[in-house]
Symmetry: C2
Subunit: 333 residues, 2 copies
């Protein structure tokens, strides 16, 4: 176990200087403090051993540009509630920490955690281009990643829903309604979970003996591109059903189809993903694949608590659930 | 909720006849009893509501032809210990139930569970050809499957280790030692987990820029075929390392290579999978991928307890771990 003396020896400074830097003393410069933290982490020192009583402080790190959580209708709101419902009665302080790419570039994840005295993190809303995704490959402070999977780091775990199952539920339901020409519309493939859903869609179609073609698959970060480029191509190709990788995209697709004169579900069936509050409020209401976000938040805490107790959990997935509403119907004859 | 009256109505018998059949009364014929149980299950009646106090009886169902568990050196021994270590203090009666294909063919899984008053099962050692694997697609009595995954049934969950990670650890370790020609030897692909390891091997090799060829991959149920058909082909093709999908196969491969005049690890590196007690006892001792079987058993109980409490857990995987011993070394120059 790395001691303060080890850090002092490595840096050629006194033990008390290291101690002061780790304990936020006012007479240590920011530059020296930063150097001490980075050296500490490099030597494997990932928990502050302060004079005061040990804290059980964990954080929920949210990618603030990708993920909204402030209001009940936002995707991450219930996830945060679920996590806190489990963590707080168990005696943990939970802090919500929105981060952007700049914060991630400035400081290694382990250094950030050490500096703020967090013993573990639940990480929500990260895409593959987020710098800390690279840090998680070698980090030592327990991190549970919602919808992200890191291979080979025992300090990380992946929590999410079973996307393979979710896509299979959507495809088999549409196949059962007689649909053969099913399109897939995705708001980019920049997140691991979106790549997983896309691959699962292709696999499920194949398993049901249904053909997929590039013309019936569209992925764009911009909503306008989904509506103006992919959707018209789907309609020209005679598709009768569209699976969207999120409810907000499905809601926009539904409206756009209606504006182009198509009846939902008589002409086109539409399925969303997530079961956000908006799904029940569209007209007609959206059939979708439910992610139980409260339970996902609870699972996030369970997985973090497992890692903190040295139980080597790698992956924890919840079942997906098909919610049938009125945006889907039998294939038009 | 299905009642005894519903079953009686469906069968055209009296309520007391149904009640007697469900409660094992001696004056009911076996044929009638079987019919009552099957009708009960068909109507969704999956828990006995007997007069006596409610039991918390669960079982560990073991495929007795595939899986040994009686002795500490058997694969499933620690898994069973781990499960019981968690279940018994929580007030559950745990029964070990070895089954064969005949039992599975004679009775649907749900009927079997109802008949024996088990509220849930941990299912160990099943291969894809086991009849109950089909039952699990539609079963309603909670079942946690060790190393098997059923898509779309919320009454089932999958527990195991992260095979993708395990294979990546093996391949990246060998690649780091300079090996380029790595073979894969597997004792059949009849189990889901063996298929997963095989696919993960191919993926990892590809990710490390290493070529795979059919000549360097061998899968046979019979050990003799692995030794006499696949291994000589590997050696003729100049491979320098072999990843085996189980320790017992790795142990046999090690001995066979030595008998053919190859030094381990100077000429050939060998990696096993599982970290069974045998792995530390071969000469030289085997490098292998560890499955923490005690923790897997505990995870099995956690997942079953989650399903019993209506937490929709789908997948629970533990991290794999590379155990470096002496059967691996630098690529021969």
């Amino acid at each position: 176990m790395t001691t303060i003396q080890d850090i002092a020896d490595k840096m050629g400074v006194s033990k008390s200087t290291v101690s002061k830097a780790l304990n936020d003393a006012p007479d240590i410069s920011d530059a020296l403090r930063k150097q001490v933290l980075e050296t500490a982490v490099a030597l494997g020192y990932t928990k502050l051993r302060r004079y005061k009583k040990p804290t059980k402080k964990v954080c929920i790190i949210i990618e603030k540009e990708n993920m909204r959580y402030q209001e009940p209708h936002h995707f991450a709101y219930d996830i945060l509630v679920g996590f806190r419902q489990m963590a707080e009665p168990a005696g943990f302080d939970v802090e919500i920490v929105p981060v952007d790419i700049k914060t991630q570039r400035n400081q290694h994840y382990d250094v950030f955690m050490l500096e703020h005295d967090y013993i573990g993190a639940f990480v929500v809303g990260f895409s593959l281009s987020d710098p800390w995704i690279q840090d998680f490959k070698i980090s030592r402070t327990p991190a549970v990643l919602f919808d992200n999977y890191i291979v080979g780091n025992p300090s990380t775990a992946y929590v999410g829903i079973d996307n393979e199952e979710g896509m299979e539920l959507a495809v088999s339901y549409l196949a059962g309604l007689g649909h053969r020409k099913i399109a897939y519309l995705s708001s980019s493939l920049g997140a691991r979970v979106l790549q997983a859903r896309h691959a699962a869609f292709l696999r499920s179609m194949h398993q049901h003996g249904l053909k997929t073609s590039p013309a019936a698959i569209g992925c764009s970060y911009y909503l306008s591109e989904c509506m103006e480029k992919h959707l018209p191509r789907f309609l020209e190709n005679g598709i009768t059903a569209i699976i969207c990788n999120q409810d907000t995209l499905a809601s926009a697709t539904l409206t756009q189809c209606q504006q182009l004169g198509f009846q939902i579900p008589d002409d086109i069936s539409i399925i969303g993903f997530d079961d956000l509050p908006i799904a029940a409020c569209t007209s007609p209401p959206l059939t979708t694949i439910r992610q139980d976000r409260l339970e996902l938040g609870k699972s996030g805490f369970f997985a973090l608590s497992s890692l903190l107790n040295h139980i080597p959990i790698s992956t924890y997935l919840l079942h997906a659930q098909l919610i049938q509403r009125e945006s889907t119907g039998k294939v038009p004859s």
